[in-house]
Symmetry: C2
Subunit: 442 residues, 2 copies
């Protein structure tokens, strides 16, 4: 069967999409995406192409862009293009160039898809990309999921060429006499890929001539193993992860007697902010005394006699106190005093327990309540919002301090982290005429 | 914790053996096995060492042998040695040198163990051997089991150093100031290992500095995944592999709707002589008409309307005929004639349908029955036993001939594969006084 027939058959057999779907093709101009474009055109699909210029390789990047535009013109298909300041975006967001490019690319594709009414985004990943991804996962360390490779369908993203080898795409391109650009990149990920592709693979093929087919077949097998694994894990979770209100209780002895204690434990906690790196620490709790615990950003695993208890970092809201005017308000952490006064440009108090805010910006009622996951605010002096959880970590609060942190909130906006920091939007400015003072435990 | 403490702890924690067990150490004289010897000596274990000279490297092999003997003398521990004509054995048995050496080695260790009353055989495989084995499996193509590495305890064989890295063994050796030999080999397996060890690993470590630890951690995880996988497979087998007398029935539709059709199908049939290479062919039966089938040495998978039926190549024993003295015995394949006579050193007949046996070795009753899976005998001229299934393949019998093969058995020992080969233990020798002649269809 030729590549085109296989392409059509695979889409049909695997229910990837139908002829009625509108498709957006991610096209770099390299061999793979040019082949995908040609195949979709030959099939008469309803599609457009989208090209990102990441501006990482100067004139070469611009040349790729022109190539893709010419290709689109020639084929008479709509083409979307964009230029990214990838380096800046990476710096601003503390991402690697690789991560930044990926983030920008997929976000933009998704935007066009929604705005322009496409059903799916198609990428040209093929079998060799898939094998390389699996090998990278393997060497980086992985569970079974990392051996199943790139997902063929993931939300609105479809990779309809995963069945095909690079060689098959090259042969097709040559036969069709199509032009393409050489995709040159020195991103870390591509560097590793290129090493695996150009150095490791030929060496392995000299020893195992079938290595390419073997690794492709591995992926097929591991996909099935992963599904069987998922079944087994779900079965164990039913017995070993017992929901009790907001908590999950894990019976230690039963877990230890199971066939796969570490794996099951990790599968239970990983949805709650715990990374694989924390697993050894959590496993120590199996041998520890009651009261020991390990925390993620949002949760905690506590050893409690015969159980590990997985619980949200702060217990469900203790209470909410409505502040409906000046006066004294008692709460778990003590009491607040609220008063207003004219502001005459005097020095703003530096004590953490006393907040001065611009009264013009504030109206009653206010709410006094413990902070919770998902809370954010604009810390005094910052233009950007910040998660309260992150703020508490950055200011090195102890676990108890975190638990006893309260906030004053107006209309869903936090105006003060009690005893710690006010929100920038409510600060005293040159225009402030009246202040609202909130003090704690005075 | 130092290597010695880890060694002791690991043996205890993993219940590998106790201080009362008598151990036989496989010692090549290389770093790993010298360390194992030193550790066992330091621990005060009751052990001896065994060294194989495979005579593959001329004087170098003999030098290794001397080194090990000197080591044993120096430590005052018993030492067993043997020289193998590995190349000849490989040729005779159509094995690679690698396979031959392995076969010879483990068989000999097991012989000594039984004869000399040792409890366990210890080998010095370590964490890096394990990682290399897993990588070799990965590149050759594997299921989940191949990612779990070398078994720590497998029957009487124990590998108590799998927890340790090569570097740790080298450091120990240096600290203890022990000598060793350089193990140089050009066996295929070792060639691949050396490539992985000396070429691929350093390259990967330049990209992923933690690659060694990552791959070791992978093995731990995949061991647990493998156990969960085993659970899931057993559960599916209960529903999808229905025992009906000597047959197993697999409902096609249910199998196809399961989460892992190929994997489950393979797990059902693999115990019956089917290799992974035959799986695609067997999978075709899921789409084929009734009557199509695929055979292994001993079994057949037949498409039978809504089922795949896994059945022994010959239907359950057609019959058993008891031979309780000289005379004629009719059976499905014709008839046998039994007679005895004095042997006067005449020429032994060469017709396959006429067997001459040493009457002194035989007593009635004999059983005449179709051969079955698991049957073995000592083919005339061979010192080694052989499976009848293998014998039928090696002598290139057709499917029908295999199905119509009968054997004559005495007290669970096969004495004749009817019309094909007698058993070596019952052959005519210089001491034979009387012969028993069995002829078929004369």
């Amino acid at each position: 069967m030729d590549l085109f027939s296989q392409f059509i058959r695979n889409i049909k057999d695997r229910y990837l999409f139908t002829k009625n779907d509108r498709l957006l093709l991610a096209v770099s101009g390299g061999i793979d995406s040019v082949v995908l474009t040609a195949l979709c055109r030959k099939a008469g699909f309803d599609f457009a192409i989208a090209h990102c210029n990441f501006q990482l390789r100067g004139a070469a990047s611009d040349a790729d862009e022109s190539f893709v535009k010419t290709l689109a013109d020639q084929f008479e298909i709509p083409c979307f293009g964009i230029r990214f300041n990838t380096k800046d975006f990476a710096l601003e967001n503390k991402l690697s160039t690789q991560e930044a490019a990926r983030e920008l690319r997929y976000r933009w594709f998704e935007d066009i898809r929604k705005v322009e009414g496409f059903d799916y985004i198609l990428t040209a990943h093929h079998a060799n990309d898939n094998v390389e991804t699996v090998l990278m996962n393997f060497f980086r360390g992985t569970g079974i999921n990392g051996l199943t490779g790139i997902k063929e369908k993931n939300g609105a993203i479809i990779r309809p060429l995963l069945f095909a080898k690079r060689k098959e795409l090259e042969d097709f391109l040559e036969k069709e006499g199509l032009a393409f650009v050489q995709d040159e990149s020195n991103l870390k990920n591509d560097y590793t890929r290129n090493f695996i592709r150009n150095a490791m693979f030929p060496q392995m093929a000299a020893i195992y001539p079938e290595v390419e087919n073997n690794l492709i077949a591995n992926i097929g097998r591991f996909k099935e193993v992963d599904r069987l694994y998922g079944e087994a894990i779900n079965r164990h979770k039913k017995k070993l992860a017992l929901q009790k209100g907001a908590e999950i209780h894990i019976p230690v002895l039963l877990l230890q007697r199971s066939v796969a204690p570490s794996t099951i434990l990790f599968e239970v906690i990983k949805g709650y902010g715990f990374g694989a790196g924390q697993l050894p620490e959590v496993q120590c709790l199996l041998e520890s005394e009651s009261g020991h615990y390990v925390s993620s950003e949002t949760h905690r695993v506590i050893r409690d006699r015969k159980h590990l208890v997985l619980a949200p970092l702060q217990p469900a809201e203790k209470t909410r106190i409505v502040i409906d005017g000046a006066g004294r308000y008692d709460f778990d952490g003590g009491h607040l005093m609220i008063r207003t006064a004219a502001y005459e440009g005097g020095k703003i108090p530096q004590e953490l327990d006393r907040a001065w805010l611009d009264a013009k910006e504030i109206h009653f009622p206010l709410i006094l309540r413990p902070w919770k996951t998902g809370d954010y605010f604009y810390p005094l002096g910052m233009e950007k919002k910040k998660k309260v959880s992150r703020f508490l970590i950055d200011t090195k609060r102890s676990l108890t301090e975190k638990e006893n942190t309260w906030v004053v909130e107006m209309n869903k906006k936090i105006i003060w982290i009690v005893g710690q920091r006010i929100d920038n939007r409510f600060r005293i400015t040159g225009h402030t005429k009246n202040i609202m003072e909130i003090s704690c435990n005075e």
